[in-house]
């Protein structure tokens, strides 16, 4: 009689242990998956950052080349330089986990984009520049960089969508909550298109 009870107790215990091990393994699996997706978001964000940095570094050279020929367009240069310095003040490393800073980053980059595109429109009025190989190469670099930015933003947007969906879906959201995975900010469809860029003269 006693022996039988012990046996049943042991059996139940063993089953419980197996279930607990199963649950833990399952949780670890989900957690590792979340870490993987989180890492891919961070990685694609650093690609976005790289391309914005590349544009940032390109601007002084471009402005100097254009300045020599189109010296009457002071306001356009000032707008570009001011927008650039605003971008420079943001520490891009902290942006990804802070929605307010992300918003700020996006607005500043959007302002720089529109200042730059105005500069490139103004430049159309100077045929000398169109024949200047140095300028044409800088223009190609700027276009290439803008294009890279949009490609990397697109990839980043997809990764963040995948991540945000994953951490809010049912079983994963429990693990995400316990382990502190939070929703990440994403780009809105068009940078700075929702608000007219402010330019101070």
């Amino acid at each position: 009689m006693k022996n039988k009870g012990l046996l049943i107790g042991c059996g139940v215990g063993a089953v419980l242990v197996v279930i607990i091990i199963g649950i833990v393994m399952w949780g670890v699996g989900i957690y590792n998956d979340l870490v993987r997706i989180d890492e891919s978001v961070t990685q694609s964000w650093s690609q976005v950052e790289n391309q914005y940095q590349r544009r940032f570094d390109l601007i002084p050279n471009l402005v100097n080349t254009v300045k020599g020929v189109a010296e009457f367009e002071k306001e356009t240069f000032t707008a570009v330089t001011e927008a650039r310095s605003k971008v420079g003040q943001i520490n891009a490393g902290e942006v990804l986990n802070d929605p307010a800073k992300f918003e700020q980053f996006q607005a500043a980059q959007g302002e720089l984009s529109s200042a730059l595109s105005r500069l490139m429109v103004v430049v159309e009025n100077y045929p000398q520049l169109k024949a200047n190989e140095n300028f044409l190469q800088l223009q190609a670099q700027l276009e290439g960089t803008e294009n890279r930015i949009s490609v990397e933003r697109m990839k980043f947007t997809q990764r963040v969508q995948e991540y945000n969906t994953r951490i809010r879906q049912f079983p994963a959201n429990i693990i995400a909550g316990v382990a502190g995975f939070t929703v990440k900010p994403n780009f809105s469809a068009q940078p700075g298109a929702d608000q007219a860029p402010k330019v101070e003269f």
């Binding site: 276009e143 290439g144 890279r148 990397e152």
Partner: protein, 235 residues
């Protein structure tokens, strides 16, 4: 209501152009370039792939139907997976004849060897002058030559062959082991388990161990990815 939504969504889907699936290194869907020229481009590009593993693909069609060229070439190059997976060393040289636009789309791994400024210069100084005189074959040849000379020092093909052999060998040893297990497995259980694993191995082996690109004629993408590098131009 649902029906209207369905029709709308089909409309949106078909607004995207169809991106061509490329089976050759040199593709002209407009019939502009003579087949002997096209064949010589094909051989030149295939040889370049065989020796360097860089995949350069030329594509000419009539129009992008209003799609922006940067998005178009990014999609074509990515969907066809030009370049190898390890090195991302693919280049797409694209010409939209009736749009009078062209672009050199450069994979991640060749952005150093073929930067935007150089790609732009190839388009403006090497290719466009010929295109302006309606000499398309000579323009394409000039473009291909310039892209090849910019990228030829970047990678060498040597690893792929041995890599394939290695994984292929492991696969066969595994298969023989499983066969033995299958034949001498005790009773139904062992046999069934063996059969299941054997089936899986055969199925999986076919897709992973198999015949990668560079084999017999034609172009097969190697899994390269793109980040929007390159330059566009017109004539």
């Amino acid at each position: 209501m649902r029906f209207i939504l369905l029709i709308l969504s089909i409309g949106i889907l078909s607004a995207q152009p169809e991106f061509p699936v490329l089976q050759k290194y040199a593709n002209d869907f407009t019939g502009t370039i003579s087949s002997s020229n096209l064949n010589s481009f094909e051989n030149q590009l295939k040889r370049f792939d065989d020796t360097t593993s860089n995949q350069i693909v030329f594509l000419m069609n009539s129009s992008m139907d209003g799609y922006p060229i940067e998005m178009y070439t990014y999609e074509v190059a990515s969907k066809n997976k030009i370049g190898s997976k390890e090195n991302n060393n693919g280049v797409l040289f694209y010409v939209a004849k009736n749009d009078r636009k062209m672009r050199i789309e450069v994979g991640y791994g060749l952005e150093g060897a073929l930067p935007d400024a150089l790609a732009s210069s190839i388009i403006r100084n090497d290719v466009a002058p010929y295109f302006k005189r309606d000499n398309y074959a000579a323009g394409v040849q000039a473009g291909i030559n310039s892209i090849i000379s910019a990228t030829k020092g970047e990678y060498k093909r040597e690893d792929r062959q041995s890599d394939d052999d290695e994984s292929g060998g492991a696969f066969w040893i595994y298969l023989i082991f499983l066969l033995i297990f299958f034949i001498f497995g005790k009773g139904n259980r062992g046999g069934l388990l063996g059969a299941v694993i054997l089936g899986n191995t055969l199925g999986g082996g076919r897709s992973s161990g198999g015949f990668s690109s560079g084999g017999f004629g034609g172009f097969t993408g190697g899994g390269g990815s793109f980040g929007g590098g390159g330059a566009s131009g017109g004539w």
